[in-house]
């Protein structure tokens, strides 16, 4: 391996990451390090390039320049499925479930990368395939229980209530056994009660040894659970630090409220 091993305490390192769409610079030279086992938040006004940054990390977009190092390996330019295999899972800002599959099947799809059955095994329903299917079904139920929607296992994802869909998306992502979980506005559209439950869920996820990297608009949620925050504005990193430091930062206030404030 010619790649330099990263310091063991960083799970994700972005170095000078830039993404251009034609003339538009969506992500501009952003560098950040996420420590293993923390909750790291990415905030910024609408259109600041937060989701674009996520897409660059997960391989949906190819960065124009810069490096993405995950768990000591350079994954810049990897395909989405390779990134997922390495151990990064994500949810989407506008929930993207498999609408006409049951909740159970949604989570079992998440388990896909951790399964071994080949086409041949499945075609002839070999005993090892049957055992794996049984095991995966149990595990999938476990994930549904973990996020609290096990009783809807047999329902179509489409038919769940909004909050339950967000939970299902998290369960599906967790099923890939990630080391790093990317949550894109997980509390969007939530009631205060649901937000509290979400924060509890994030704590539980952390308890499983998974690092959480989230985009969120709701300051109560962000300040309540994250240890460190990066603020993005017009694709540029304008601040980084603990919730308290960021809250007091002049540039952050300007970015959110406009310069006149």
């Amino acid at each position: 391996m010619s790649e330099q091993p990263a310091p063991a305490d960083n799970i994700l390192e972005l170095t000078d990451l830039t993404k251009r769409f034609g003339g538009l610079v969506a992500v501009d030279n952003v560098s950040l390090n996420i420590k293993r086992g923390e909750v790291f938040a990415l905030i910024g006004p609408n259109g600041a390039g937060k989701t674009t940054l996520f897409n660059n990390v997960t391989g949906l977009f190819q960065p124009t320049s810069g490096r993405v190092v995950f768990d000591g390996r350079d994954i810049t330019g990897s395909k989405p499925h390779q990134v997922a295999r390495r151990g990064i899972a994500r949810t989407f800002q506008n929930i993207r479930l498999f609408d006409y599959m049951t909740c159970l099947d949604n989570v079992r799809v998440g388990r896909h990368v951790r399964m071994k059955a080949t086409v041949f095994d499945s075609l002839f329903k070999l005993p090892r395939e049957r055992r794996e299917e049984e095991r995966v079904t149990e595990e999938a139920m476990e994930f549904l229980r973990f996020v609290g929607i096990a009783k809807h296992a047999d329902q179509y994802a489409r038919n769940l209530a909004y909050g339950q869909q967000r939970r299902l998306e998290i369960a599906r992502a967790l099923a890939t056994d990630p080391k790093l979980l990317l949550l894109d506005e997980p509390a969007a559209g939530f009631t205060p009660q649901e937000k509290v439950e979400l924060m509890k869920l994030v704590k539980k996820i952390l308890g499983r040894g998974i690092t959480v990297f989230l985009i969120e608009h709701d300051m109560k949620v962000v300040m309540g659970i994250s240890e460190r925050i990066v603020v993005l504005d017009h694709g540029e990193k304008i601040a980084e630090g603990s919730p308290d430091e960021v809250r007091k930062d002049v540039r952050v206030i300007e970015a959110y409220l406009g310069k006149s404030a």
């Binding site: 997960t58 049951t102 299917e133």
Partner: protein, 399 residues
């Protein structure tokens, strides 16, 4: 906990019950049909028809993997059928003796059945590999083009394939002697019919039934597996599927290749069955007919697709061609003059296209989800209503 969940899987059970019922009825019909039809018509013509229908069932089951499971639109499915049929025809007839190869091959049917399968799958992979990364409709167009090219190639390379003259005199399958055994044949211990593909349509009928049964089991296994779920995930949302670690290109390629292999398999069977393979048997109309079978039966649902294939086969190859004759006898029986009878019958003959086209349009307008839709498609159509209800309920809760 989990038991309470699984007892609630009632909807799914009902679907499975429906499938069981359909399969049971099909099995009984398949068993009774040859005896009944031979008894009723004193001939095996109907059994041959049923065998041909069975070939289409096999094709529809294969195309369902591509279209119904993985959501890829294939408009050139007959190309793989042609490839399978020619794979067998060329290597199990005297055709290549008069070709530049100057040597006739007579490879056994049972081997070529699988060779045809792999050749077709390979062709599918070659076509699919560069094109499956394209958006859905582009794939449809590429397959359409491929479906137009392949029969034309078999037509153009007439040195090898005989071109428009077709490949005839294709070998019939033979069974090893030990299967025939003393209990069959003309000997004193005869219990069952002698199984002879040479002159007996029933032998082909039994073979296609066995092949269909095997296909149903295998495809069902795939449907309820890791790969089946990956196909559906891609059909639902390709980006999300990739984010879950599914390699969308290879997964789609597998659907495409497996679908093609069914077509190749069916093609080899067809070649042996009719013993004559010509480029005209694999035109666009065949691809479309199989696609309509899949859509009509209810995409994604195997039992529905089988029903769709049987119904459409009956309509296209039996009902419509037989119409003039029926009209004639009807006109005779109500006492119309022979002149009127003949012109009426002629008119019906000219109506074939109109009737077929009209049936397609009417079917889709009346049941856009197919005859026996999978739960998915049914839901898709009811979805709007359900959502409105849910919204209303949520509003109530909120206030």
């Amino acid at each position: 906990m989990s038991t309470s969940v699984f007892t609630r899987l009632h909807l799914r059970d009902r679907i499975r019950d429906r499938d069981t019922a359909v399969y049971s009825i099909l099995l009984i019909l398949a068993l009774v049909f040859p005896m009944a039809s031979i008894y009723a018509t004193d001939g095996t013509a109907l059994v041959s028809q049923a065998t041909r229908a069975g070939t289409f069932v096999l094709l529809a089951i294969g195309l369902n993997v591509v279209v119904g499971f993985a959501g890829l639109l294939d408009l050139g499915y007959a190309a793989f059928y042609a490839i399978g049929a020619y794979s067998y025809a060329l290597f199990a007839s005297t055709q290549l003796a008069s070709s530049p190869a100057h040597h006739a091959f007579h490879l056994p049917f049972w081997l070529m059945l699988f060779v045809a399968l792999f050749v077709a799958a390979a062709a599918g992979a070659v076509l699919g590999f560069p094109t499956l990364r394209l958006r859905g409709d582009y794939l449809a167009i590429v397959t359409l083009g491929f479906g137009e090219i392949v029969p034309q190639l078999f037509y153009n390379f007439d040195q090898w394939t005989g071109g428009i003259n077709a490949v005839g005199g294709i070998d019939q399958p033979t069974l090893p002697a030990w299967i025939q055994g003393p209990w069959s044949g003309d000997g004193p211990f005869q219990v069952v019919r002698n199984f002879n593909f040479g002159g007996d349509p029933v032998a082909f009928y039994v073979l296609i039934c066995i092949l269909i049964a095997a296909a149903i089991i295998l495809v069902n296994n795939l449907y309820r597996s890791r790969l089946g779920r990956a196909w559906m995930a891609i059909r639902e949302d390709e980006v999300a599927a990739a984010a879950m670690g599914i390699n969308t290109v290879t997964t789609k390629l597998l659907a495409f290749g497996i679908g093609a292999s069914f077509s190749g398999f069916a093609g080899a069977f067809y070649g042996a069955n009719v013993s004559l393979v010509s480029p005209d048997s694999f035109l666009f109309i065949v691809s479309i007919t199989v696609l309509v079978m899949v859509v009509l039966g209810g995409m994604g649902n195997i039992s529905g697709v089988i029903i769709g294939a049987l119904v459409l086969y009956y309509v296209v190859y039996y009902l419509i061609p037989g119409l003039p004759e029926n009209v004639r006898s009807l006109a005779n029986s109500i006492g119309l003059s022979s002149e009127t009878t003949r012109s009426l019958a002629d008119a019906t003959q000219h109506l074939n296209y109109i009737i077929y086209g009209g049936i397609l349009v009417a079917m889709m307008l009346l049941r856009p989800q197919g005859l026996l839709p999978s739960r998915v498609r049914e839901q898709e159509l009811k979805h709007a209503a359900v959502q409105e209800e849910e919204a209303a309920v949520e509003m109530e809760h909120a206030t």
